[in-house]
């Protein structure tokens, strides 16, 4: 499996948890309602969506559930299922809120925690409802039967076009947003080219560009049936935008700071090398840990000695991590084939990771012979189009939430978090606002639940343990309470830590891999403790005043 595939599945989880965190952020970050039962609404959304798309229950088999609407035209489709999951979660969120909302913050948290556990137990013990303690299966995600797409049929070409349209539109929207804030001439010209000459507002430009490019792609594929060149072009475009974004974000870093960042990233890589090289486990761990402590210590000394490094210490870690990640993504996969002397294999791996949009290998696919790379089989697989959809949902919901909290409504929510009595004395009933806040937040959790049902293709009650709520709380605190962008960032960081520690476990002999797998939770915990110790307000501080001015960061010198 190419690294690109790992990243795709990682991003799928990030989108689901990003939406969940956005929901909790409305409740706690904006309104100050501490909801320890967020996972309950995630459960409601997931099971509702699943019951909408499941076919009618056949008596006599092992799965039992109350109703399956899958065969009902229109009702049994995924869009309706997602909508129903969202709405039901919102309504149940409101119902749960009514009796509990007058409680003090901590009592509210505990009560809702209890309610979420009740939901879980209901699923577990009411066998007739959704197959009780056993997994609820038997449905498939939308359009899955059409995949993998090779571009040989009309439907395939259209699906490919839709996929490219979504990817192109999202990338262009991000690009336009970047160029609006800081616009070097070269990037602006590239943006205009990518947006098919649109100079309109980023959103409209992106939508039009997406439609245009999607249509062109479909026509090209119908006419010529070539998907590899299309995938190559679009992938390179996304890489360009990503690199531009990083470069603009860190454009103010000086050369010494950049060099330090690269040293930090490479140092991290070097200190992990013993894991791969040394055979004896005890020595392996000892050497790695010493190398890591030397790295941390030397960075600490560097901060003490150099004002430049001290001023940019966060950005340096950011760039260092990006450097580390790019090496992990592009260079490390080449080590194995190169040491085995397979140059073509190495080049193939590199090419596959570059063209992240397409899946390589597999039984079905179009074969291409490329000079220097040999023969490659390409197709567009299902996870990738699912990812495009999920990211589209995440972006759309992020946009809606952002628009919602930057209005008088959001201002009242923030006032409630500050001091409810003031809100009352100003003629606004806090109760109705808290109710709406809980409903919107729970609705978002329900939406995420429906996406989870789609992603996991099977639901078990154990997935919805209170643990999930605390993971989302963690994401929220790390990302920065009250900051919507921080939620996506926090979700990405959490799953990156998870991925990294899983990968780390892969270096150990199978006998102790289980122990390491368990230990990784400790590592994740420690990493987050460090983040919160040094940045108590989270990585991104709260923003979004309705007066248009951004608040200045209170932790001095943090960025």
């Amino acid at each position: 499996m190419a690294v690109a595939d790992v990243v795709v599945s990682f991003l799928l989880l990030v989108s689901i948890y990003g939406i969940l965190a956005l929901g909790l952020n409305i409740k706690y970050g904006h309104t100050g309602l501490l909801d320890f039962g967020h996972v309950g609404f995630y459960l409601v959304g997931a099971y509702t969506a699943a019951l909408f798309v499941l076919g009618p229950d056949t008596p006599g088999d092992f799965t039992v559930y109350v109703i399956g609407l899958g065969n009902v035209p229109l009702l049994g489709t995924w869009p309706i299922a997602i909508l129903a999951g969202t709405l039901l979660a919102a309504v149940i969120g409101g119902l749960v809120t009514l009796p509990t909302i007058r409680l003090r913050e901590d009592y509210l948290a505990i009560t809702v925690l209890g309610i979420s556990v009740i939901f879980q137990r209901v699923i577990q013990s009411e066998t007739w409802l959704a197959n009780g303690p056993d997994a609820l299966r038997g449905y498939s995600p939308p359009l899955q039967s059409y995949f993998p797409v090779t571009g040989q049929s009309l439907v395939g070409a259209v699906l490919f076009g839709v996929f490219v349209a979504v990817v192109w539109g999202l990338t262009t929207a991000g690009f336009g947003w970047l160029c609006r804030h800081r616009s070097p001439p070269l990037q602006t010209r590239l943006y205009q080219f990518a947006a098919l000459g649109q100079t309109a507002a980023p959103l409209r430009g992106a939508v039009l560009a997406a439609l245009g490019v999607g249509a062109i792609t479909t026509v090209v594929i119908i006419l010529f049936g070539i998907i590899l060149p299309v995938g190559l072009v679009v992938s390179i475009y996304t890489w360009t935008v990503a690199v531009t974004a990083v470069r603009l974000h860190y454009s103010e870093l000086s050369r010494p700071a950049l060099i330090t960042a690269i040293l930090v990233g490479s140092g991290l890589l070097v200190s992990l090398v013993p894991l791969a090289v040394i055979e004896t486990v005890s020595i392996q761990i000892a050497v790695t840990l010493s190398a890591l402590s030397v790295l941390v210590l030397s960075y600490y000394i560097a901060i003490q000695r150099s004002a430049v490094i001290a001023a940019n210490r966060l950005s340096i870690i950011g760039v260092g991590s990006l450097w580390f990640v790019s090496i992990w993504y592009f260079v490390l996969p080449l080590v194995d084939p190169l040491t085995a002397g397979r140059l073509t294999g190495a080049l193939q791996t590199l090419f596959q990771n570059l063209v992240w949009m397409l899946a390589f290998g597999g039984d079905v696919g179009v074969g291409y012979v490329i000079i220097g790379l040999g023969e490659l089989t390409v197709q567009l697989d299902y996870p990738r189009i699912q990812l495009a959809g999920f990211i589209l949902f995440l972006t759309g919901l992020f946009y809606i939430v952002e628009q919602t909290v930057q209005t008088p409504f959001g201002r009242v929510l923030r006032a409630i978090r500050n001091d409810e009595t003031v809100v009352e004395s100003l003629g606004k009933n806090p109760f109705t606002y808290k109710l709406q806040s809980m409903m919107i937040g729970s609705g978002l959790a329900g939406f995420a639940g429906a996406l989870w049902a789609m992603y996991a293709q099977g639901l078990t009650f154990t997935t919805f343990a209170p643990r999930v709520t605390f993971i989302i709380l963690l994401i929220m605190f790390v990302g920065g309470v009250g900051n919507n962008k921080g939620m996506i960032f926090g979700a990405a960081l959490f799953w990156a830590f998870q991925q990294a520690t899983t990968q780390l476990a892969g270096f150990f002999p199978p006998a102790i891999r289980v122990n390491i797998q368990a230990f990784r939770l400790v590592i994740v915990g420690i990493l987050f403790l460090i983040v919160l110790y040094y940045l108590p307000e989270g990585l991104l501080t709260q923003e979004g005043s309705t007066t248009g001015e951004q608040r200045t960061r209170r932790t001095e010198g943090a960025e």
């Binding site: 009514l98 008088p408 009242v412 006032a415 001091d419 009352e424 100003l426 806090p430 309705t546």
Partner: protein
């Protein structure tokens, strides 16, 4: 003499064994500035909390523009609808669950139980609703409904919204902003943003009026004590109120600013606003007030113009002392 704007009659409030307000009776005329003074523990702040609807009196009545506060604080239709539909929905769901469980008896009884359950749930709610409503009308504090009627107050210890900027504190106040409804923020963006611009304009003007416009984008928690008092005054003024209860508006404010505040209050009073002020600074009270109410031990001691209060023996005994 016209009807008083606010009439307090035989007001009583106890906390455990302490009688905070014990049969206070007084009136506030429209367009005047009334001072409310008395020694510590005389029940002034409790009286304010009762008038502004934060507390519910044990006994007695308060009428504002001739209407009893109890009626002004009755549950709104909106609130009744929320609770009503929630209980109806829950009743229906429980009924349906019971009905589905009864499928083993056959489809028809199951259907009957479903409908019956829903009816019992909804009907039970309606009965309960009637009961609570009559109870709640006498016993619920809904200060926000009084604020909507133009009866507003400030707090003795300022309650600024610390994490929000000074301008946001002011922009929060105006009533009935379209953007306060989440539906409008999604579907009527144009209206919300034009209105927001007007509100922002008003907020900036208010900051200029209070001469704290340089603190516009400063989080309110960074403001000084006196600036917070000004901000709080500005916030209630943004509501376009009729009767403003000020709890120690100049405590901790420096002399120049105090003078400025007094001028502002007098000017507003001449524009038709009615003020009721609790204050320990006798110079301020004597200079501002047209009528002074002296409270002691939860009762009204005397009510009259400043000259009369200054020379009253009982007041000197209880509060002012011999100069």
């Amino acid at each position: 003499m016209s009807d008083p704007l606010l009439a307090v009659e035989d007001l009583r409030k106890t906390f455990g064994g302490i009688v905070a307000v014990d049969g206070a009776t007084f009136e506030i005329e429209s367009g005047t500035i009334t001072g409310l003074i008395g020694p510590n523990g005389a029940g002034k702040t409790t009286t304010f909390n009762l008038i502004s609807g934060f507390y519910v009196p044990d006994n007695g009545r308060i009428s504002y523009r001739g209407t009893d506060l109890q009626y002004l604080m009755a549950p709104t239709d909106m609130e009744t609808t929320i609770w009503g539909s929630a209980a109806g929905f829950s009743g229906g769901v429980i009924g349906a669950a019971v009905g589905l469980g009864a499928f083993s008896f056959g489809a028809l009884p199951a259907l009957a139980i479903t409908i019956g359950g829903a009816a019992v749930g909804a009907g039970g709610y309606i009965a309960e609703e009637r009961l609570t409503q009559s109870r709640e009308q006498a016993r619920n504090a809904r200060p926000y409904q009084l604020a909507r009627e133009g009866l507003v107050r400030t707090f003795q210890l300022t309650r600024e919204l610390g994490e929000m900027t000074a301008l946001e504190n002011l922009m929060l106040a105006p009533q009935g902003q379209a953007g306060e409804s989440v539906i409008n923020t999604w579907f009527r963006r144009d209206k919300v943003s034009t209105e927001e611009e007007t509100v922002r304009q008003r907020g900036v003007e208010m900051l200029e009026l209070l001469e704290i416009e340089h603190l516009r984008d400063e989080p309110a928690e960074n403001l000084s004590g006196g600036q917070r008092k000004l901000l709080e005054l500005g916030r209630v003024l943004m509501l376009d109120p009729e009767l403003i209860l000020l709890d120690e508006p100049v405590a901790g404010v420096n002399p120049t600013l105090t003078q400025k505040l007094m001028d502002r209050i007098e000017k507003l009073s001449s524009e038709g606003y009615t003020f009721c002020i609790v204050e320990h600074d006798m110079n301020v009270i004597m200079e501002l007030s047209e009528t002074i109410i002296v409270m002691n031990e939860g009762k009204r001691l005397i009510q009259g113009p400043p000259e009369q209060i200054r020379n009253n023996d009982a007041v000197i005994d209880a509060y002012l002392g011999v100069e």
